[in-house]
Symmetry: C2
Subunit: 110 residues, 2 copies
């Protein structure tokens, strides 16, 4: 089943600051692993491991070109996260409305 753009994995992946940095750099420009590592305070293998996590989370796609692997963001993973956020945002608004009504009922029973 590998990855199905599950928001769960995406949020866990972006929980790490280094992965967020990689994510932001890729949003500005698709890049190879070494290129990313040169602009970050971690080693190249570390970047490689982070990219694997991001890929499994459905946030990143890779395409090999020669001996290099160009990584770019996967809009589908981002869209899945946004849908998840929107759903809970809407649910929270509804739930708070019900909650407020209940409170009002308790304080003004009639």
């Amino acid at each position: 089943m590998a990855n199905a753009y599950s928001t769960i994995d995406a949020l866990a992946a972006l929980g790490d600051p280094t992965r967020r940095a990689i994510f932001e750099r890729l949003s500005a420009k698709p890049s190879a692993v070494g290129e990313l590592a040169r602009g970050l305070p971690v080693s190249r293998p570390a970047v490689s491991q982070h990219l694997r996590v991001l890929k499994q989370a459905g946030l990143v796609r890779e395409l090999p070109v020669g001996t290099r692997r160009i990584y770019r963001l996967d809009p589908r993973g981002i869209a899945a996260m946004r849908d998840w956020l929107d759903a809970h945002w809407a649910a929270a608004l509804d739930a708070f409305k019900d909650f407020a009504d209940t409170q009002a009922d308790q304080e003004m029973p009639s």
Copy 2:
């Protein structure tokens, strides 16, 4: 400065699975700490600590009622995350377009 609805903190906060569970329960219904803990596989102090992180991330608001503290989601924190995602999503699309053009130029120089 406390919290300013920074997406950075919000993503880090939702990176933890227990905090995501709390977040989802609060989206369905504002709840007190003990009520949340009763439905989760962790102790009440653990829930308390998670709620503090969520609050500092701008994702949650609390209102004291008697000896209890009712927690509910803060739409502003969610909106900040969504804006961040949308910005990077748009940037990624533009960057990929430029990237594709560059690739085409390199393969068909004229």
